[in-house]
Amino acid sequence: MSPPPNKAGPAPTRIDVRMYQVGFGDCFLLSFDYGKEIEGRDERHVLIDFGTTARPRSEPPSSEEIVEDIAKRCGGKLDAIVVTHRHKDHLSAFSSDKRRERLEALEPELIVQTWTEDPDLDPDAPGPKGAGVAATGALQPDPSLRFVKELREAQAVADRIGGALAGEPGVLGTMGELALQQVKNKAAVDNLEKMAKRAKYHGRYVHAGSKSGLEKLIPGIEVSVLGPPTPKEWPEVAGRERDDDPEYWLGLRRLLDEVKAVAPDIPAVKAANAPGPTRWLLERMRNRQLDSLQGIVRYLDDALNNTSVILLFKVGKRRLLFSGDAQIESWSYALRAKEAKELRKDLADVDLYKVGHHGSRNGTPRSLVELWKPGGKLSSLLSTLPHAHNEKSERTTVPRGPLVSALEGLGPVERTDTLPGGRLFIDVTASTGNKAPFKVRPPDSK
């Protein structure tokens, strides 16, 4: 048995990760086993995300079943909950009051969320408040605060697009759904805030380099927050290059209000169907309209993904990486920024990787995978469901074939979409004292 890291004191000897079969979404339960009782319990538990947008196609487990299993697995006490970001597929389960109450009964002591969710963050306030958002003076708006403001405005825009398109047939409807996934999570967000208020250590809203607060609840581990960077630290994370007019989204919202933008049979378009030289172009431009609206929704989708909390757990010799849906614009900070040198030093040693963004083409940077050596040591956990994501083309299929192949070249990839129907979860387990690959625990043990 290896000595615990850094300082004397109890440290986990074993770590279990339970990946629930939620369909298209994430729900992970980390259990740290100390092999002996510490203050009356021999394990500590952290739940990372709990949401879905598309359930498994055969005998899907219900969220209630999963909540009950969480309660059972952690013996009635859940130490902390991490919600990586505000997308439905990561937090939808928190939207029900009943499930919230059931989870609250497990007395989580800390709720970790991303910095943009901080309810005390007021983007209109003259002086900034909240994690890592430093004052820059009144004249130049703080880029981080402006980003939060933009996100909120953009959500209002997405709400309008979603409201107009959801339920439409075909690709329009799909986009409407995607738009709504950006905004309709208020119930879940409110519930998380309630839970944070009641938790012993309340809520913690983190960004790259901040303290997660998990160490004091889970003795003998270290947790690095690798992301998300704030736009102040890393402007790239705020998304595509755009005009720097902070009123952009406001203007766009007004515009959409004004013209009832997305109704498919706009009189002007109908009139333009008259024979003549513009007809062909306007037909083509109908697709552009879709592209344009899609661009807006995608911007928001990317921006929210890039608010994902990225956590690196150091447990004995083990390194576990959970990155939510962070995309390259956020990852690039941990991978490239000068300031993040300290943060990335453990990345090459990762032996358990929660595959980012359900296996999308931009959720796992190539340069991250290149850090990992072949040899079967890396275990990957992939929570996904094919054809459930908004797919524009073969190249944006989730999960993305070449990525999965690359990870398979590094070691086993456990995935929820190949689990038999009705199976609630898959467990992997490993001792913290060595680097032998994680093993899948047979369904009936423990």
Partner: protein
């Protein structure tokens, strides 16, 4: 005349006197944010000269059709009729300024039309012929308020240029009111018509050239407006009409005039960064080893930087005679700047005809520009060619060795016995027959699939003031093969690329016939240059462009559905996705 008469900008009673060849239309000289006037609040406008033509409402002429459809809002604005002379509501600078500020639909339609038409006219004048769009139609659609996005792009598929707008709380910013953006995008469309294969993924310089040409045309066109140059010079804090001697040094002019211009351009779509960097960059001959310059877009900055260096050198050369003890007359300095820019732009554009149809590299650009200029101006009295050469040399770009353009008059002449000169001028099949018959003279291997890419007559004014007429025949050679087969030929296959990955290799060239139908020049990019293909493949693998091929997609690697739109997006992380 019918009721259409009022829609014409042909200058009035057509039948009774000679048709007017040009009209003047007032447009935004640079961008709506560049202001002038006593209170500094008038948008800087200038009248540009464009070819006169019959114009329907739209405006819709022979080559352009403006359709004001807002794709985001799904709103179609009525077609606009351009009026001239006393009826022109925007002839007056103050009125034009107001219209520009409010984004007036009539004004934006005419602004986008006029700038695009002026840009096309500049290209046509330099190349001495009409230039076709890549798309089959004769008219290029211009959409002045296409979508609520800070972007503007040329779509080869739609045969259209879409200009986005940026909504704001009070007013919106229209990219179609930025002279440089309209000129830049129109240049993409024109170049795509001239060299369609430049939009395929090739050597990094090729994609870079598409952007660089757009940027050079944008910068040099805007610099061709005296009002703009004067304003930039006055920003030096000059009082009165003189400009001090110390402000006339090359370095000083770079800092003020050019940098000031670059900063003002492309703001709305975030392109001013690259433009500014192009002016600021200090030349380094070993830039190809610099990681920040390997990427296609920043590569384009190198070419722009080389051209801007040439511009400064030509400009300072031209003003040296104007300088007295108390400096020089500001207006004259501005005028010389404008002339230098216009001349340099013409040189660059004339060079396009001598650039290879495929696999363009910066060395070819330099060679083509110098060769083209030599034909119309053999003695280079003002040292313009030297200025261009030095601008490029500072960046380590010299003409290719061995030369890409071969002087065929010094070589064995092809056989004309089986060709018909007058048919050859207009018939691709006849052109192919000629190439086929003379494959040995042109050092072409008949094994490869050979096709005629274009057949174009060109007319220019020669050094003696007489007309120089030429015929340009562009051909390409292609071969489709697997990576293993390419390796057997001598191409270095990057590690990790499977033997079965389908690849496509190309070569090609331009054969230039003189007025006597004799072959004068041969620009060539041999298909058998395996080293070039090795470099190309290494680049494609590096940027991930071969991934589709690795997964079994067809061998031809193009930029995707909207190549130019893609080019304009940030690709800083392009190598990171799967």
């Amino acid at each position: 005349m019918s009721s259409m008469a009022s829609d014409q900008i042909s200058g009035g009673a057509a039948q009774e006197r000679a048709l007017a060849q040009h009209v003047w239309l007032r447009v935004v000289a640079q961008d709506t944010e560049v202001r002038t006037g006593d209170d500094g609040d008038e948008v800087l406008t200038e009248s540009v000269r464009i070819p006169a033509e019959h114009l329907d409402a739209g405006p819709r002429g022979a080559r352009f059709h403006v359709v004001d459809f807002d794709g985001t809002a799904g709103k179609l604005s009525p077609p606009v009729t351009i009026r001239l002379g006393d009826e022109d509501p925007f002839a007056d600078a103050a009125a034009a300024s107001e219209a520009a500020k409010e984004g007036n639909a009539r004004f934006r339609a005419r602004n986008v039309y006029a700038v695009a038409a002026a840009t096309l006219a500049t290209f046509e004048a330099a190349l001495g012929r009409r230039l076709a769009w890549r798309a089959t139609g004769h008219k290029l659609f211009l959409v002045p308020r296409a979508f609520a996005e800070a972007n503007a792009f040329y779509s080869p598929l739609d045969g259209a240029i879409y200009f986005g707008y940026v909504p704001g709380a009070e007013s919106e910013h229209l990219t179609s009111l930025s002279y440089d953006i309209v000129a830049h995008e129109t240049s993409h469309a024109i170049l795509d018509g001239l060299r369609p294969r430049y939009l395929e993924r090739g050597l990094p310089d090729q994609a870079a050239f598409h952007e660089a040409l757009g940027d050079c045309v944008a910068m040099l066109s805007v610099f061709g407006h005296e009002a703009v140059v004067e304003k930039l010079l006055r920003a030096l804090g000059q009082s009165g009409d003189r400009i001090a001697m110390k402000d006339l040094e090359e370095e000083k002019l770079r800092e003020t005039a050019l940098l000031g211009l670059a900063e003002g351009l492309g703001k709305a779509i975030g392109r001013n960064g690259p433009l500014r960097r192009s002016v600021e960059r200090d030349p380094t001959p070993d830039w190809r080893d610099r990681p920040d310059l390997v990427e296609e877009h920043s590569r384009g900055e190198v070419l722009v930087a080389a051209m801007m260096r040439a511009l400064l050198s030509i400009w300072t050369g031209r003003i040296s005679a104007l300088i007295g003890p108390d400096g020089a007359d500001l207006e004259r300095v501005a005028e010389e700047g404008t002339k230098a820019a216009t001349h340099l732009l013409g040189m660059l554009l004339r060079g396009i005809d001598y650039m290879p149809p495929v696999d363009l590299e910066f060395e070819d650009v330099l060679e083509a520009v110098l060769t083209a200029d030599e034909i119309v101006s053999p003695d280079d009295r003002h040292g313009y060619r030297d200025a261009v050469k030095e601008g490029f040399e500072a960046w380590g770009i010299a003409t290719p060795q061995p030369a890409g353009i071969v002087d065929m008059t010094e070589r064995e002449q092809p056989g004309y016995g089986r060709a018909n000169a007058s048919v050859l001028r207009s018939d691709r099949d006849e052109a192919l027959r000629f190439v086929w018959e003379n494959a040995e003279v042109f050092e072409l291997d008949r094994t490869w699939r050979t096709s005629i890419e274009f057949l174009r007559p060109s007319v220019r004014i020669g050094p003696d003031g007489l007309v120089v007429s030429e015929l340009l025949v562009g051909y390409v050679q292609d071969v489709e093969l697997t990576a293993a087969q390419a390796r057997a030929l001598g191409v270095e296959i990057p590690a990790g690329l499977g033997d079965d990955v389908p690849l496509s290799l190309s070569g090609g060239g331009v054969i230039v016939f003189d007025q006597f139908h004799r072959v004068r020049l041969h620009q060539r990019k041999p298909l058998e240059d395996w080293q070039r293909h090795s470099r190309r493949l290494a680049h494609l693998v590096e940027i991930g462009a071969l991934r589709a091929a690795e997964e079994g997609a067809p061998a031809r690697v193009d930029l995707g559905e909207e190549p130019i739109a893609e080019l304009h997006r940030s690709v800083a992380n392009a190598g990171e996705v799967w």
